[in-house]
Symmetry: C2
Subunit: 556 residues, 2 copies
């Protein structure tokens, strides 16, 4: 063995902080607060991050200590994104849609020492929450108009500071420490719909490499001339890594607090000249409806060119619909455990023309440095033939190798990670096929597969085709217990225009429509119409609740 | 301190080998041998690399041992690029233009255990060279038509094998070892025009990160749909990293052995559908002349879109000239010690329109993860005002921190590296300005600055304006000793059409032309006309020899 003679430059988020300060100080971060737009330069963001880090240090927060946020997307949250990891502490972004009780548990599990919370969120929860003893200080981030009367007035007030006052007296300069790249930089708990939430503890190395991965031309392709709108919350896996990627690339940022309704998006896109945005498909499907209904809005978003979309399957109708407005939808896939991006749907030049439309709805190709495989229930590799479904497993320098803290439970880790073929693998719990070109297609969550007559039916494949039907607004497929077949699929449908006539018409068309895509035994036996489908805290359809409600309606 | 819980995936070249084998096995590598085109798939390249690694292992080559190549650009050289580092040995690419004596010295300094040499090169040097005792085996890579009679017949024959016979009996499968990312992967000696050659010992980490850096959309932007022609030799800093980047991205490769004349380039571009190529400016300036003279050639290279060019300053006339053929020239800058790319000239969206033409001739912006500064002779940072010139220094995970072996000399390293501000810096020896946007402009090699009356004159700035003059084919500025001013600049010129009338005409125009760009004291006192300027082994103008010849002519 012989060691190379190259510089030992650790891959840390300080690279991003330094680069944006030196090369892009005048580019802007636009935050859309409910009542007005706030524009800051990166110079201001980085200087305020320095003030913030000084203030946090004064609270006695050491290297490796956790600092929590409960906040929507704003310039202050971005300042925390820089200050906390770059000073050597760990940024714990808590899902603002959780209940007070869940938040208490996460604060305790992470042993957070500080909590930064949006005033609007604090107003809602401060009466209920019992902040655990580990938290030395609660810093409330003012909504745009500071309202003294709205300052916390509960018995928790003794803990509280207001953000602007907290950083005000501090100098912007700070002696940022030299960090090792394996030190923890961030902590994000998965949503926990399947049990206790599990903490993913990112390292500087993993997040920095993920950031570089967002610059690849075949992929997210974040670049200096972009104005990036991450319409996914900053508490979801670092807003999919887009804020860090934008700063590394020198792209401007547009942040929208919490509003993802079409009118708010149009306003921010227009004001900041947004060129690319990201969020889950439901946000964009509402947005597309709005564009079709309001030609004036379509004209106001002419700067928008690209939509990398993930978090749920993307239908061809969404892709084709945006193409009519000159906007390219790119399917992506990831999970909190993968920082989160693992796949991006880049169109290969060697696809046959007839393969292209279908391939675009796949989740994508592994991003360089990510390795994927599919395995059967015994852990044996399955072929890349586009048809064999198996559990998707990922090896990547930005994939998790274990869970943090006590909440994962004693065997949480063993179910989620495995080690063989000389490397670590994350078991995603997603069932996928991989075609000969390498495109991964998620066919289901392992737990959402419907087992009928000893064969598996992919609920997600059914949902995709239902979503492509012009009359359908939302759709989900679930399994109903069946004495003969074990389970049979049910189509849960929200119609675009729900009238008795339309329901009748849809029922008439249903089987012929589905027969184009599925063998008879895979077509749902029954259609269940809904006004709305139940959603979880991350905005995804909650199938567990859906199944329960369906059975309750059935029995009731 | 708290360590992140992420997978420990080492950044090694095995990532590239695995990715190209799994995702891009059917994409092609086209080599243009003098007598025909050879096309191989990446599947074949990787399988043959496996055979090659097995054969090398059988020779008793261990982890960290050096394996030398003396070869032009070909599929076999690419197989060595994969096999040698991925098996844990170190690929030492020797400049094929060196003399036998220099090659002997490098083989001994690196303690190479094997030497892979092109048959055409071996034929030229085998009579002269005394292969050092460390070399166990010389493997001769056949030109396309194996000619038994041309096999080595000197007393060195006992050492020799032919490449195809060497790998033939080996299986393609091999148990590739798990490597640490800091292990050495490659060794490249700088050209040594300034003294003894110095070895740069790349690590797997540095080369892998450099490869990822070539995928950034703002930069080289290597992508799957590219067909990449690195027209720079594979013994120059890994052909600027393009072969590794192409394989990581899934781009096809076109390799041209040694011919860089316009006709050969046109033929290969046309045959392989090349979309991007790279080489030093002189190659492209000849190519541009050819395109202008031969409209048929212009039609045959319609697939070409991008030319990242480096190795010497790029003139605006070259950029504008290629723009007329729909080809974008992007200025890049690097050196062997930086793997080699450190700067790419990406046009920022916030440049004023009037700044753009001038900015395009700068060497560029630091690539993400690279940090630059300019310092005065006392090591103090200079401002980024676009005018203050200082030594360019680079901190980067793919920059060298020291030199390998004995040839650097006892104080070679201390002159080239420094450590302050909490990090290591490579002292490039280049004098540069940095403008407020971050664009670095190399104004000279430190040793090529002309000192006149206590002020520095940039020879490179003079050369650039001379090169922009329509009558000039080649130009260099050197300092002539001057009793009054210490030195005065001299313009050494090769005219496009060298006639006595043209010389006279050029002399008449010279001062008015230069006065547009320079103050009077910076304008060369004298024009010296040449038929050809002396070049070093890397094809660059050798100013040391030029100065000597100039003085000899003057005295003689």
């Amino acid at each position: 063995m012989l060691t190379g003679l190259m510089q030992q430059v650790p891959l840390t988020l300080n690279m991003i902080r330094e680069r944006v300060a030196v090369l892009y100080p005048d580019k802007t971060v636009t935050t859309r607060f409910p009542d007005r737009l706030h524009v800051a330069t990166y110079r201001e963001i980085v200087e305020r991050a320095g003030q913030l880090a000084n203030a946090i240090r004064e609270c006695g927060v050491d290297r490796g200590a956790r600092v929590a946020t409960l906040a929507w997307n704003s310039h202050r949250h971005l300042e925390l994104y820089l200050a906390v990891p770059c000073m050597g502490a760990v940024l714990h972004t808590i899902n603002a849609r959780l209940s007070s009780g869940d938040i208490e548990k996460l604060l305790a599990d992470a042993e957070d020492e500080l909590l930064f919370v949006d005033q609007s969120i604090w107003r809602t929860i401060c009466a209920d929450i019992r902040v655990p003893a580990c938290v030395k200080r609660v810093v409330v981030m003012e909504d745009e108009h500071v309202d003294e009367a709205a300052a916390p007035s509960t018995d928790q007030a003794r803990l509280c500071a207001l953000y602007e006052a907290f950083i005000e007296a501090q100098p912007p300069n700070i002696d940022w420490p030299s960090l090792g790249e394996d030190e923890a930089s961030g902590l994000c708990y998965t949503s926990g719909t399947t049990g206790d939430p599990k903490g993913v503890l990112y390292s500087h190395r993993s997040t920095t490499l993920h950031t570089l991965g967002c610059l690849f031309v075949d992929g997210i392709a974040m670049r200096e001339r972009d104005v990036c709108l991450p319409a996914v919350p900053m508490f979801h896996a670092n807003a999919w890594g887009f804020p860090y990627a934008a700063m590394m690339a020198g792209a401007a940022l547009a942040l929208l607090c919490r509003q993802t309704d079409p009118a708010s998006l149009v306003e921010l896109i227009n004001a900041a000249g947004v060129t690319m945005a990201t969020a889950v498909p439901t946000v964009w499907s509402n947005f597309l409806d709005h564009l079709r209904a309001e030609p004036a809005s379509a004209a106001r978003i002419a700067s928008m060119k690209r939509l990398p979309v993930g978090g749920a399957a993307v239908s061809r109708s969404l892709i084709d619909g945006f193409a009519q407005f000159g906007i390219e939808v790119m399917h992506c896939w990831g999970m909190t455990e993968i920082s989160p991006l693992g796949l991006t749907n880049v169109e290969r030049s060697d696809l046959a023309p007839e393969e292209r439309p279908h391939t675009r709805t796949a989740q994508g190709l592994p991003i360089p440095t990510c390795t994927v495989r599919i395995v059967d229930e015994h852990g044996r590799r399955l072929p890349w033939d586009g048809t064999a479904p198996g559990e998707l497993q990922v090896a990547s320098p930005w994939a998790a190798a274990g869970y943090f803290g006590g909440s994962a439970g004693p065997d949480g880790s063993s179910r989620s990670f495995t080690r063989d073929e000389g490397r670590e693998w994350l078991r995603t719990g997603d069932i996928a096929t991989i075609d000969p070109h390498g495109y991964v297609r998620i066919v289901d969550r392992a737990k959402d597969l419907i087992k009928s007559g000893g064969e598996w039916i992919s609920s997600q494949a059914i949902e995709l085709q239902l979503a492509n039907h012009p009359d359908v607004r939302e759709a989900a497929a679930i399994g109903r217990p069946d004495p003969k077949w074990q389970e049979r699929p049910i189509a849960c449908i929200v119609l675009q225009h729900d009238t008795p006539e339309n329901r009748k018409r849809f029922e008439m068309q249903f089987k012929p429509y589905m027969s184009q895509f599925f063998p008879k035994w895979q077509i749902p036996d029954e259609i269940s119409f809904w006004n709305d489908l139940p959603k979880g805290k991350t905005g995804k359809i909650d199938k567990m609740v859906l199944r329960q409600q369906f059975m309750r309606n059935r029995e009731g």
